[in-house]
């Protein structure tokens, strides 16, 4: 029966729990509102039907008390929902550093997943249970959207930037994920499975993939091949910002603005360096837009992240 008439999706992540609770609360509130309207309407329709002899004396045409009270009550209820929803959203949409940082490239019509160890998979995402997973997602063509119903998370993957998303699965099992932004003919098939495994199973799975080099190592090769190291290497004579310990710091730019050095920032700097000239450095970096694909950018980002984060800088 349940297989054929499903009513409720699975709830399998810490991100899913507060969203699910809020959804239930809103369902109850909606049902209450609907019930009130229906009850009032039915009562009036029966009692004041044309042929009934109920009294129509002392008709109210307007009542400011009534309207103001009703308006205030709805507004107050709405504000509660707003605060509740917004607080969860802010929590959902600020991805923390993950125990696992996984890279996702969306390309019509598949999801290419790259693990930091260099393991690659398509339309499947293997993750350990009870660990914080941070996804850095790039699109190679159009806008896609990464959606895992059981985790209640979703984020569009917009070409030209990197979006981050996080979750922490709390049950093992296989869960469905899909693209929810129309992306062309086979949009409906751009789906896959999240496989949540226990830590030992996951470790075993990682080693079974037979990988030669990690993502950061691949990124380092690209970093040399593309000539980035010519300037950004500490031994270089060119006056270029050091990338050691860059990730996660606050960067001061030439035009006075500040940016957080996250994946999106590093991505923008590679593709559009002129708009992100770091304060105190000459604007000499060449523009890599159109010369490097999103998968390679992600590898370079993985390499730059492997050079250490903000904490190492302090040491």
């Amino acid at each position: 029966m349940y297989r054929w008439i499903p009513f409720w999706p699975k709830t399998a992540a810490v991100t899913a729990i507060p969203v699910n609770n809020l959804y239930v609360a809103e369902l109850v509130l909606s049902a209450l509102i609907m019930a009130t309207v229906v009850a009032m309407m039915l009562t009036f329709c029966v009692r004041y039907r044309r042929n009934s002899d109920a009294s129509r004396a002392n008709l109210t045409e307007k009542s400011w008390h009534f309207e103001v009270a009703w308006t205030t009550a709805t507004l107050a209820a709405f504000l509660v929902l707003f605060v509740w929803g917004a607080s969860i959203y802010i929590w959902l949409y600020q991805a923390p550093r993950g125990d696992e940082e996984i890279y996702v490239v969306a390309q019509r019509w598949m999801w290419k997943i790259e693990h930091p160890g260099g393991q690659r998979e398509i339309d499947a995402l293997h993750v350990p249970v009870d660990k914080t997973i941070r996804l850095a997602m790039a699109s190679a063509d159009v806008i896609h959207s990464f959606f895992v119903p059981a985790f209640r998370i979703k984020h569009d993957v917009v070409p030209g930037t990197i979006e981050t998303l996080w979750f922490q699965a709390d049950k093992t099992g296989t869960f469905f994920f899909a693209c929810t932004q129309f992306c062309g003919v086979q949009h409906a098939t751009m789906q896959g499975k999240v496989v949540v495994m226990s830590a030992p199973d996951y470790a075993r799975w990682l080693t079974e993939q037979g990988v030669q080099e990690s993502l950061a190592q691949q990124g380092e090769e690209l970093f040399r091949a593309r000539g980035c190291s010519g300037c950004h290497d500490p031994s270089s004579t060119v006056h270029a910002p050091s990338l050691f310990g860059l990730y996660g710091t606050i960067v001061h730019l030439q035009d006075g603005s500040i940016r957080l050095a996250d994946e999106a920032y590093i991505h923008d700097c590679i593709l559009n360096p002129r708009s992100f000239t770091v304060a105190g450095y000459p604007p000499i970096m060449p523009d890599f837009s159109g010369q490097i694909d999103e998968g390679d950018v992600l590898k370079i980002i993985a390499y730059i992240k492997s050079l250490g984060g903000a904490q190492e800088t302090l040491e």
Binding site: D255, N272, P283, D287
Partner: protein, 216 residues
Amino acid sequence: MPDSAVLRPDLQYASLAQQGETAELGMWVFLVNETLFFGALIFIYFIYRLTYPHEFAVAARDAVLWCGSVNFVLLLTSSLTMVVAINAAAQGERRAMVCWLIATAALGCAFLGVKGFEYYLDYQDEVVPVVNYLSKPGEGRAGELFWVFYWIATGLHAIHLMIGIGLVLYVLAWKIPRGKITPAYYTPLEVIGIYWSFVDTVWLYLYPCIYLVGRS
């Protein structure tokens, strides 16, 4: 001068005064719409200029400053002659009205002439996206965005001006000889005047957006 008695309001109006007021209001309501139309284009420009200040400054240096400035003067002057023509219509000075209207149309055409010459210079300078475009050093990929904006904005503005010139010529060739513009009812001219000045206003914004970027 033909008598105003030949003019009657359209069926749905009680009087010529109501008809005239309504037509003017109609034009103002239409201008709300035009404001948002051009405003939306300038909004796109605004966002990209915020995003790519350096690239836009480099790309905009290729805009032909003298053409834009001359056109600025031409268009403002045409607005003045339009106003003077309406004044003449209100005073019943038919000859002066015709002369000033011809001057207005001529100034509008001069604007288009300068604009056309500027397009020619732009083509020579290889700043026509898709057709003939050469990315200059320092402008990156966003420089082309500036030029896409330039062509679309000036093109749409020129189309609006052409419509304005057409309307002025229509009044000159059709309405005035038939005595439909009188001191008692010159609303058609007034409405066209409002439109004309609005097209002028658009240039007040396009001028700094296009020609006065990256000059220092």
